[in-house]
């Protein structure tokens, strides 16, 4: 709310009242709460590490697991390096195609994060847009959007994602290339998660709509889209950010689940979920490393993001302070 005041304030001492953004952040309650919570710091560190590893995957992986030319069948089914049968450079062993598990996990992490973030972006845009429209204009449009949201909310996201996937496959044929598959999953996730954004944004907008500054903006002749995006939207960034963080974890889980169920990413371009699905076959035969490491990576990533989201929600919730 204070940011709004700053924008409106023309006073010369505004400079003094609002130092640099960084300083403002460092002095904020958010930062304090972060420094006080060891769990949040740990989760943040793990998340950062995962993002870093995912980003650096092409440079730090010993192998590109998506390039079939680099897979050597003769190196298949090797255990991790600390096992007597392990072979360098396969630190975490290899799978049945000679794919280096470490590289596959790093690339899988990258893919899972990309799909997750794209899914969050798509659902965010969709949800915020519809929420703004519904809340600002109200009336029949609002009723329509919110009814659709109600209907949608009756279904778990995974069910919607599966249906979207199945319908797309029936319509376009199943010979989609990997990029189209990724796009399909992103769209499935986007369509599954927009409702919470829409509801949150809508309720905030309905509150803001009646406020003086919006009326004032309307009076000076600003158009509705401008008012919505420039003035109303900034007020809902907090809750939207919380939803986005939690939804990132959900999106990653959804992608992994789709891949695990066999309708996600193919085995030639494995995400963490696909790796777990294929590795699951070797659970009984003692080749545990094929499933264990992707599982640990996925669990760590999701847990860290969830913790971060939890903390963020509490920290941004004035009722709990």
């Amino acid at each position: 709310m204070s940011a709004r005041m700053d924008d409106a304030a023309e006073a010369p001492d505004a400079q003094r009242a609002t130092p640099s953004r960084l300083a403002r952040f460092l002095g904020s309650d958010l930062w304090l709460s972060f420094r006080r919570s060891k769990l949040a710091m740990g989760a943040f560190a793990v998340t950062l590490l995962m993002f870093g590893l995912a980003f650096a995957a092409p440079w730090i992986s010993p192998q590109n697991p998506y390039d079939p030319a680099q897979l050597e069948l003769l190196n298949s089914n090797l255990p991790p390096l600390w096992n007597p049968d392990g072979q360098s450079p396969f630190l975490l062993g290899t799978d049945d195609q000679g794919r280096d598990v470490l590289s596959a996990v790093l690339y899988g992490l990258r893919l899972s994060l990309i799909v997750g973030m794209l899914g969050v972006v798509v659902s965010g845009f969709l949800g915020i847009g519809l929420g703004l429209v519904a809340g600002y204009f109200g009336g029949a449009l609002d009723t329509l959007i919110m009814r659709v949201a109600d209907v949608q909310l009756t279904f778990p996201a995974i069910l919607i994602a599966l249906v979207v996937d199945g319908v797309a496959k029936a319509s376009f044929g199943s010979a989609l290339d990997t990029n189209a598959t990724i796009l399909l999953i992103v769209v499935s996730i986007g369509l599954s998660f927009w409702v919470q954004y829409a509801r949150t944004v809508r309720s905030s907008v309905m509150v803001e709509r009646g406020k003086d500054y919006v009326q004032a903006a309307r009076l000076i002749g600003l158009s509705s889209p401008v008012i919505m995006v420039r003035h109303v939207l900034p007020n809902v960034t907090g809750p939207v950010f919380v939803i986005a963080t939690i939804n990132l974890a959900l999106a990653i889980i959804t992608e992994a689940t789709l891949s695990f169920l066999g309708t996600g990413l193919p085995e030639t371009m494995p995400s963490l979920g696909t790796l777990i699905r294929t590795g699951n076959r070797f659970l009984f035969s003692g080749e545990w490393w094929v499933v264990a490491f992707p599982g640990i990576a996925l669990a760590g990533l999701v847990l860290a993001i969830n913790l971060l989201g939890d903390w963020l929600r509490d920290a941004l919730n004035p009722k709990l302070q």
């Binding site: 009756t154 279904f155 599966l162 319509s171 689940t257 169920l261 066999g262 309708t263 599982g295």
Partner: protein, 326 residues
Amino acid sequence: MLAFLIRRLAQAAVVLAVVGLIAFAMFRFAGDPVNQIVGPDTPVSERAEIRKSLGLDDPVLLQFGRYAGNVLRGDFGISYQFRQPVTALLAERMPATLELAFCATLFALTVGILMGVYCALRRETVLAKLFQAISLVGVSLPTFLIGILLIFLFSVTLGWLPSYGRGDTVRIGGWTTGFLTVSGLKALILPSITLGLFQMTLIMRLVRAEMLEVLRTDYIRFARARGLTTRAIHFGHALKNTLVPVITIAGLQLGSVIAFSIITETVFQWPGMGLLFVQAVQNVDIPIMSAYLLLVAAIFVTINLVVDLLYTVVDPRLRTSVGRTA
């Protein structure tokens, strides 16, 4: 009151109609139904005839009307994979899913309430912290990973519990049950835990939060001041007041438990509706997909409707309430 009732019913009907429309659109437009029915070497003329006999050339509105009529009569068409009526297939699989959902909910309620109460009353103990940590894991980890972990631990390593299927079942009329055999009961344990873990976490957190809130309220303080025993306060007043929303949520969640069983059933090869649905997605068996979608929608709508109506009977303020949001 009556107006509200009618409006609620109308809303439920609208929801079902919209889902029905989606289901119909899937059924009709996702892939060519004729291609799915005939053998690969069927000549074009024969295909045209089938197209006509199925009414695929009629106006879309008429087709939707026919589809809706069929659905209302319980006819969801023929599965492309099994060449059998979808209704029969779903009915055959339903007991497995319902029994699993029931056990999972039971597990979630008992364990969740116990852990929640403990966490609220003994907030600082190690055990409470452990419960909190478990709840975090339960909420965060993907269901399939938990299932695999349980299988690895209890089936592969220890060999205590079966890793797949329902074990021996007993058929009573049209219902097959796993409750009456030892192997059936053993087979229920791991899938129920996997499926119920998330709800358990939810309930545990809810019980804890509600208990803490209630314990802060005036009437509890008053009760304490009156000299009631701690036990009476905790269990006679605090817990009792907590349980109502908890049980309501468990009821509301029953629908999502049924829907979530898709994943659990796949991991444990549980022969229920969810596994049927996943196989349908993999094999693009649209009639099963659309029927399942409608079924889940119907379950959700019914549960919500019942809860809504019961509330209004109790609390007049809600009769005209608009949907509040978080």
